[in-house]
């Protein structure tokens, strides 16, 4: 792996347990008490320091952790990638965010590079500030260009938390308290072409989906599904939007996940790893078809945002793209993904009572446990063995493994060994949990998120009181 510590890397950043208690309290008071409790219950209340390559260090214990969450796929080029760092430090010599309404060589250069790497005729570029913002931009573009209102999204879809992206989220969990959201959004089961065909009409502006559903628990779209969607869109004048925020930039073993099927969407949203883990950046690519081009010509200030498409961000993202291209990182993602998936499948065969299914594409791998309560327990066990992997808040039985795609063989060996060790720990705990789970009502209690937070939080406090060392 080409990474290492930049010469200037600070080694400070350790925290005493007393300091941690202080910062915990500050975070709880001024950011979110519930979040702290929730993380604490699963031993995930860790402060990250020495964020380097595929690892970070627990600021209190000093323990090195393999980052298999990476902000849900935002650190593809690894953390503190020295070349991206250098590009950013150089940018800081003479740049700032820049005027959003003006052009600069930095904006033009990044757009040109992104356009040249994009699949098919996705040649047009718009800037956005983050994932949600990019999806809002994409849906606005589709509605505006087609003059239609309906949007077909997928059940369990995850697109973000801003107004449009939240309206396209196919999970009740994220929507419930904020309804009513935007009318005109319908949800069809993922990989169900018939459902889309029944729904799509000449009133449909867009069909939006993730080529691999991430937050839902890693469900790759089949090639037939995607090709079928393309055909429906072509027949009915619908714009096809791919949310490649998690899947793009090498994650799935191709530079863009849509390359697996060869299906080119009309609009593609990118964010997360464009940031190089250092500076926010997002973009929306579009095919320069007359419908879209005419619309944008009439809207010279379409979706301008103060923070999106910043000069510094463009310099960083340009380097990220160059780095991924020069190192053909998607090939490494394919190879490492195959290794990880193979190892997890072995574990599934050996532990049918713990692991139910393994799914994935490239280095976007998900493991589904047999029960929801295993998710938080595994997060904790993995943490003890030096792997940071978070269970999905609204699907706790599913855990995602998305380490930086720069990960090398030795590092992958260690990640796999840690997962094996964590499963072994689970095996010793599971008989107790399973006996309890057989008592009527206990399983549903164990699987209840609030009960988990309360129960695991309680156990956590007992551990601390009794001084049990982890």
């Amino acid at each position: 792996m080409p990474n290492g510590s930049p010469a200037t890397q600070s080694t400070t950043g350790r925290m005493s347990p007393e300091e941690k208690t202080e910062i915990d309290a500050l975070f709880s008071r001024h950011v979110n008490k519930g979040q702290f409790k929730y993380l604490r219950s699963a031993h995930l209340d860790v402060f990250e320091t020495e964020r380097l390559g595929v690892c970070f260090r627990d600021a209190v214990s000093g323990k090195k952790m393999y980052d298999c969450f990476t902000s849900a796929g935002a650190f593809n080029v690894s953390r503190h990638n020295p070349l991206v760092m250098k590009a950013l430090e150089e940018a800081l010599e003479d740049l700032d965010l820049g005027s959003y309404n003006l052009l600069s060589v930095h904006k033009l250069a990044f757009a040109k590079k992104l356009s040249s790497l994009a699949p098919g005729d996705l040649k047009g570029v718009l800037f956005a500030a983050g994932g949600g913002d990019a999806i809002d931009c994409a849906i606005k573009l589709a509605r505006g260009a087609t003059g239609r209102q309906e949007v077909i999204a997928t059940v369990k879809a995850y697109h973000g938390h801003t107004g449009f992206s939240l309206s396209a989220n196919g999970k009740e969990h994220y929507r419930h308290y904020f309804e009513p959201l935007m009318p005109g959004f319908t949800f069809t089961p993922f990989n169900d072409l018939g459902a889309v065909r029944a729904r799509a009409s000449d009133k449909t502006a867009a069909i939006i989906l993730e080529p691999v559903q991430g937050e839902a628990g890693i469900f790759p779209a089949t090639n037939e599904y995607l090709r079928g969607l393309r055909k429906i869109c072509d027949e009915k004048g619908i714009l096809l939007i791919f949310d490649e925020i998690q899947t793009g930039l090498g994650r799935t073993g191709k530079l863009f996940a849509c390359e697996h099927s060869g299906v080119i969407p009309d609009i593609m949203a990118l964010s997360k790893s464009l940031s190089g883990a250092l500076f926010p950046s997002a973009a929306v690519l579009y095919r320069k078809i007359p419908l879209v081009v005419d619309f944008l010509d009439r809207r010279p200030n379409f979706h301008v945002t103060y923070g999106g498409g910043s000069d510094i961000g463009c310099r960083v993202s340009l380097k990220v793209l160059e780095y991924i291209e020069e190192n053909r990182l998607w090939e490494n993602a394919a190879r490492m993904g195959a290794r990880l998936k193979g190892a997890l499948e072995d574990l599934m065969r050996e532990n049918p009572k713990i692991v139910k299914e393994v799914r994935g594409l490239g280095l976007m791998v998900g493991i589904e446990y047999c029960h929801e309560f295993i998710g938080p327990m595994m997060s904790e066990a993995l943490g003890r063995h030096g792997v940071w992997a978070a269970y999905s808040g609204n699907a706790p039985q599913v855990m995602r493994f998305m380490p930086p795609i720069t990960v090398n063989d030795r590092e992958m060996d260690e990640i796999i060994a840690a997962i094996r060790a964590a499963v072994k720990d689970m095996k010793s705990l599971l008989p107790v949990a399973m006996v309890a789970a057989k008592i009527p009502g206990v399983l549903s209690l164990l699987n209840n998120e609030r009960v988990q937070v309360a129960m695991f939080g309680f156990l956590r406090r007992i551990e601390e009181l009794t001084g049990k060392s982890r």
Binding site: L97, L103, K112, D136, L181, M182, Y306
Partner: protein, 407 residues
């Protein structure tokens, strides 16, 4: 000319014909290169005084040395960070904001851009009250994301419809209308204390107090968007402070980190944040409150607290507006009809949107970067850095004079 410019930029990927024409119309068809303090330069070295300031993001001037230095230092110690995790940087920034911002706004939700921060505010208001109805005033401009767009007044809004339901618009400044509109079904009332994009229309202290009272009577929350007015722009630390109120939710835009990092925030009282505490991780943002960005914002807050730029904004705003008013009085047939606004958030009213564009172009030709208002498109907004000097104020006045004369 337009075609010539296109070839100069290359950039067909990014630059649509429509955008190119717009840039040309405003005299902004150049590449932004060097930037420093109150100025930017194009590739040929032509200097412009930046009185656009990315709509007030660059409160502390372009490339503030301390902010650039802090970002450089912070990058060596931290990065964006894993968004669901607890974070030292987020905790410190949230604490600093709680101390800096007047009133009991103790808790922060972080975002990347203002729109996202407004969307968060609306969501929390709905979640906290258990009511859907959002009431705003006409003439507002809150950002590009879904909720923010639904609240904003803009001609192209229908292109993206249907937007967020249960959004009602009441006439700005009319308390009687507010009394009828705000009921026990209302989740939130949302407004900017000064509508920067709408000829700097300002809410009076009486109106703000009246709205807050109506919200309190009806169990609704008051959301104030200070993206363009916060940190001293209008001559006080926050515009709501001058209005003598304390909102339940405050939206702060990218001026939070002085234009060196994209970060915005939604500040809440402990009372309102109880909803977020009960439902953690229900509203997420990968880049919002990036650890490294929190460090830059923390430094910006330190500078804001130390320099108290609202004092300079009040004094320089006075100098600028009186200089501009004098120009209008003295001109035989002034294309600028009126000057509105407070502090260093000023708006020039022209006869038509076309005249406003012409004025921007003429200003650019005389070294001044300004843009028309987004809502009142016949206006031109002046938002120079809060750190501007008397000489630079005089330079703006001289550029405006030259622009007026050339029209």
């Amino acid at each position: 000319m337009a075609i010539e410019t296109q070839s100069k930029f290359g950039g067909a990927e990014l630059v649509t014909q429509g955008r190119l024409e717009r840039l040309h119309d405003l005299g902004h068809d150049f590449l932004e290169a060097k930037r420093e303090g109150a100025y930017i330069y194009d590739e040929q070295g032509t200097r412009y005084l930046d009185a656009h300031g990315a709509a007030g993001v660059f409160n502390l001037g372009r490339r503030h040395a301390e902010l650039a230095g802090e970002l450089k230092r912070a990058l060596r110690e931290t990065d964006i960070g894993n968004f669901p995790m607890i974070s030292l940087e987020k905790a410190h920034l949230a604490k600093a904001l709680a101390d800096f911002v007047p009133g009991p706004l103790e808790c922060s939700i972080f975002s990347v851009v203002r729109g996202e921060a407004m969307d968060a505010a609306c969501k929390v208001a709905r979640g906290f009250t258990g009511r859907p109805e959002l009431i705003t005033v006409d003439g507002g401009w809150y950002g590009q994301t879904g909720f923010a767009l639904s609240l904003s007044e803009r001609k192209d809004k229908d292109s993206y419809a249907p937007l967020i339901p249960d959004v009602r618009v009441m006439p700005f400044g009319e308390l009687d209308a507010a009394r009828k509109a705000i009921t026990s079904k209302t989740a939130a009332v949302i407004l900017e204390p000064v509508q920067a994009e709408n000829n700097c229309r300002a809410a009076s202290p009486g109106y703000l107090k009246g709205l807050l009272g109506l919200c309190q009577q009806n169990g609704a929350v008051l959301i104030v968007d200070e993206t363009q007015t916060g940190f001293g722009r209008t001559g006080s630390k926050f515009a709501y402070e001058a209005g003598g109120i304390e909102p339940d939710i405050l939206v702060l835009g990218e001026a939070l980190a002085g234009g060196m990092f994209p970060i915005a925030a939604t500040l809440l009282t402990q009372r309102v944040n109880a909803f977020m505490n009960a439902h953690p991780l229900i509203h997420l943002s990968t880049f919002g409150g990036a650890d490294v960005g929190c460090r830059v914002a923390l430094k910006a807050i330190e500078i804001y607290a130390r320099e108290q730029p609202w004092r300079n904004a009040a004094a320089m705003g006075e100098r600028l507006s009186s200089g501009l008013r004098q120009l209008i009085r003295q001109a035989a047939a002034s294309p600028v009809r009126n000057v509105a606004g407070n502090g260093l958030l000023l708006s020039l009213e022209l006869a038509s949107p076309e005249a406003a564009k012409q004025f921007c172009k003429a200003s650019a030709a005389h070294g001044l970067l300004v843009v028309p208002g987004e809502v009142a498109t016949n206006t031109v907004v002046l938002r120079p850095p809060l750190t501007i000097t008397p000489e630079q104020v005089d330079e703006i006045v001289a550029s405006v004079k030259a622009a007026m004369e050339s029209m």
